[in-house]
Symmetry: D2
Subunit: 346 residues, 4 copies
């Protein structure tokens, strides 16, 4: 049960949608549009996304949520005997209730730090596999999954991404980037990876909507034609095809009209920087300096219990018997007055 009086920094999907999106939904509501993504708004949104990605040939599809998108893309890219290489902390490896395994594919974990895989660790993993005498009895690495930003809110730099891509190419591994919170990466001053870079380096990626100001929706981008076949039917088969495709079409058309998607993350980043600064000044132990909208803080358990009376945060993991790692998340909708109230409480 919600407690409206308590502050909440629990996650970045607590509100509805950016007001522009709702406005557009209302304006277009009574237009008759064909279903299943053949509507003019989906068409327009696809065109805008292709342009923003500098990928005029890109195939673009809209799905409802992140886990669904990962399952659809991964299952479409992999052959049945292949698995997806991912960070041990990757969303697909931990928090998707086995959605990937449900599609028959193993998640092959690679050591990671703060959510990031290094090109070196990846290369080591793939080399070891290639030289393992039992490899024919093992799940074949079939693609790489990484997240930008990662589940920890960290970022891959452009050079890191290029190094990873180089390893992927050496081992013929398609590269897929989960961009559930991509708007927050794009708005971060620490970020040097653009949409065009992603389109150039990835074989597939998705531009997150749900956590970045849409009601629902993720836009899958295959920058080059031909990687997957019959993706439409595959989406249907996964139960992921929306009859009213316009719902995603309109939202992404709006997000990519006048660059809204590039602005929507800005507020979250400003609020995160302010909050992070205050946390440090007050002597809190940050797990790391976060470049995006998720701030991970080590709290003494008694302190945590005290704070929880006034603010909702997100449990991350037990550190030891007396400390817990928690997350504060900001979003496109976070109000500065709430950040100020939080700071005054800390």
């Amino acid at each position: 049960m919600p407690e409206p009086k308590k502050l909440s920094f629990a996650c970045d999907y607590e509100e509805g949608a950016h007001p522009n999106i709702l406005k557009r939904l209302v304006e277009t509501n009574f237009e008759k549009q064909p279903g299943y993504g053949a509507d003019e708004y989906s068409e327009s949104a696809r065109a805008r996304i292709r342009e923003a990605c500098g990928a005029p040939e890109a195939e673009v599809y809209f799905l409802a949520g992140g886990t669904q998108t990962n399952a659809n893309v991964i299952d479409a890219i992999l052959r049945s005997y292949e698995g997806v290489v991912a960070a041990t902390t990757g969303h697909v490896a931990v928090h998707e209730a086995g959605a990937i395994e449900y599609c028959g594919h193993k998640v092959l974990p690679v050591e990671s730090e703060l959510g990031k895989i290094s090109a070196a660790a990846l290369e080591q993993y793939l080399s070891d596999f290639a030289s393992d005498g039992n490899r024919d009895h093992m799940v074949q690495p079939g693609m790489l999954y990484i997240s930008q930003p990662t589940e920890y809110g960290t970022l891959y730099s452009l050079s890191e991404l290029e190094e990873i891509k180089a390893v992927c190419e050496r081992f013929s591994l398609p590269l897929y980037v989960d961009g559930a919170r991509l708007a927050y990466a794009l708005a971060s001053p620490a970020n040097d990876v653009t949409l065009k870079d992603l389109a150039r380096l990835c074989d597939a990626f998705y531009i997150g909507g749900t956590k970045c100001g849409a009601l629902i929706g993720e836009a899958v981008v295959f920058p080059r034609k031909g990687l997957v076949r019959k993706f439409f039917t595959s989406i249907k088969q996964h139960g992921a095809l929306l009859a009213k495709g316009r719902l995603c079409g309109i939202q992404f058309d709006e997000l990519f009209r006048d660059g809204l998607y590039f602005k929507v993350g800005g507020n979250a980043i400003r609020m995160a920087i302010k909050l992070q600064k205050a946390l440090k000044e007050k002597g809190y132990e940050l797990l790391f300096e976060s470049p995006t909208n998720q701030i991970l803080v080590v709290l003494e358990n008694r302190k945590m219990a005290e704070l929880e009376k006034k603010v909702v945060m997100s449990f991350w993991e037990k550190r030891d018997d007396t400390h817990t790692l928690v997350r504060f998340a900001t979003s496109w909708a976070t109000r500065e007055e709430d950040v100020d109230r939080l700071i005054s409480i800390l």
Copy 2:
């Protein structure tokens, strides 16, 4: 590409949502609500649905679309060696791109007429199976799937449903009803099956939103506790869990506030009756007298080509070399002036 000038009776999901729903989405947009269906609107919607179904113990879940809902419910009810019995023309049998098989389950087709299975045909099928010496080498019938209204727009009467239920009980088969267009059944003068009847007779059913005035969303109802376990996790595993559960919660809360769901089908039925009357008067061959919002008409191909210049209808199937079966669908949003224009064209 849409042609705004052409009339369309192609399907019942060409518009957005009922205006009350959009209004409510706008009003609640900036409220912070927990994710994954724990929001207060989902809670309230579940309570209203339980009451409308006379099923105070019912477990209610919201999913995004029909194919997804069928796959989730069927996979949750069946053991892995079981299949779902369905009409040869059932949606799960034909038009879901193998979503059920994707979950590992065979669809076991039973002869049907205009979308309906008879209790007698079901009993015959199950008796034959039970007495087949090879049955242990065959997929075990694990549940029954029917649709109300059916894919043809026909209706099961209460007595037909009770007879089917009796057969199901005799063979220990859970009964599941796909109510993708349930609002149109409930609003039909020919209908005598209430939500309370469904709750009493079914082991699971879903109340369709997408085709009945919502943007997206279907409400799964398990009238009695305990049929499936961990359905929340199962939904997540299927990639079907919405982060912003409020999107469905708000819509169904509105649909079941002041009986909107029971009114929303009324317009469609009135428009369908008017159109059907005109078709008959003009000598068109109806496949049958439709009690709901889908009208199936046999058209001479030349006539069809002529009509298609002015109105979008839906191809159903080839009848012979010179005739085609087409569908006209009305909906909650169909305007009488469009029906009049269509009649004038016919």
Copy 3:
């Protein structure tokens, strides 16, 4: 519980293995051989099969049984959104407990007669699919499965097979032939389809061992390289890789040494011809004149009950309230004295 005194014509896998096979297993028993099909006998058997098929490039794999083989081959050929087209009476469609659906693939049934699909029916089915406006919402036909001999014991003639192949090519559909009882086809005087024909016309087929004189084992042949990738790993993933691959290797090496496989069916055919002649003379109603080792007879139920006291036969299906279709099967091991005893009982 077996009743040794009763005659049995129940099926063609009631005995162990052809004596030559057992002899070879004993002779080679203490040789150390590498596992998983890398042994010299598997290598030799593969070479002999390639030669017998006139397919020097063929990839040959050994699996344990028919259902397993079908599931492995079909799953390896199909993409996840594809289904396998098969006769309504095809083994994969009915008697494999959903093994194909378990791999996520729908079996797409085509009308058949006495187990056979006609090229015309196949073409009709594929044309209808190609012109169906909803086809993107449906399982895509991805390959054709037929059996030689069929489940009824009937045979495709070479010209029928060539016509089917032509349709497959027109629709880019790989052709797969289930040869569970292939030895009985090859030994039939009515047969004009050779192993070389199969290798020329099929994209994959299997040469049945279990029902043709081996203890277990089926030999999958992909006549041309490259249709499937990583089949070894795929077999392992399906739990179908034998550690002691020699068990199949030795058996098929023996079956294809000195043409044993071509002789092994001869006894069955001779016995079937004799039995069939007697049945006709005694006025029994044969479902059709069988060219192979399965004879389907319509029995009056009282007659059946009487016969069942002295001979085990196989229930096929209920014909009406007073008649049943039953099967008598002969095999490589059927003794003429047993056929004579059966004839005297009839």
Copy 4:
């Protein structure tokens, strides 16, 4: 290609079958027996196994190989949203090509040492899961998989097994033991876990045949009725049902007649002890003192290259740039003269 002159200690499945088994296959070859495990030998073997396990109610099934058995049992026990907890080094976790994930289930790895999970580590894992706020978004632990002996050849003691069982019971987790090499555990002087103990403590386990003197075959034991339903159909669905069930039935009937299964491991253990003693005397570094038939030795790479000219051993893993861990395996068929030759080479 095999090199008959080279010694081989590569694995424990390089020969055919124990001579008693072959003899019995030959003797029974022409008896007509019903298929699919309904033969009298399977019946007798099941009875003998029930008796050896002190489990008169046990359900016993025969399958062909270890990976297949694991996939069948695990899939039958788990609900679709559940995963199997296993050692990080468990066979199901690494070397089954994703057979478990293919069934839709995640393998949930728990830290292990030399193949063994401790009750404490298991309890920690399960407690952490139970208290994780995100657990409903994660694969639910649904059963425990351990191996006896483990993949390293180590053994669980009876008290260790009882402690593990106690944790399983506290968390309502069925316990399943993979006994691929169980004969070698039973014959080890270090072992104190009997078949009766396994039947008492496990919810399911299998008695390995393939690696313990049979041609193929594993005997699954469910000591108490009712854990899984329709396992026969499930086996068929997995493509794992042998038409000639007699092949396994005869082998296990022989293995459990006159206690052959308890003797068959003895030779392997004696040979392993002798070899291990020699290795130590010659200053080789053993990874640990092996109680069963697998000996893991750290070899300097140059030494390894030298040895490989004369003896086949099994690569285990790279230790560092100059050292490799290799395995020598003995079996029921290992000849003392070969051990002596190996020792003279070392």
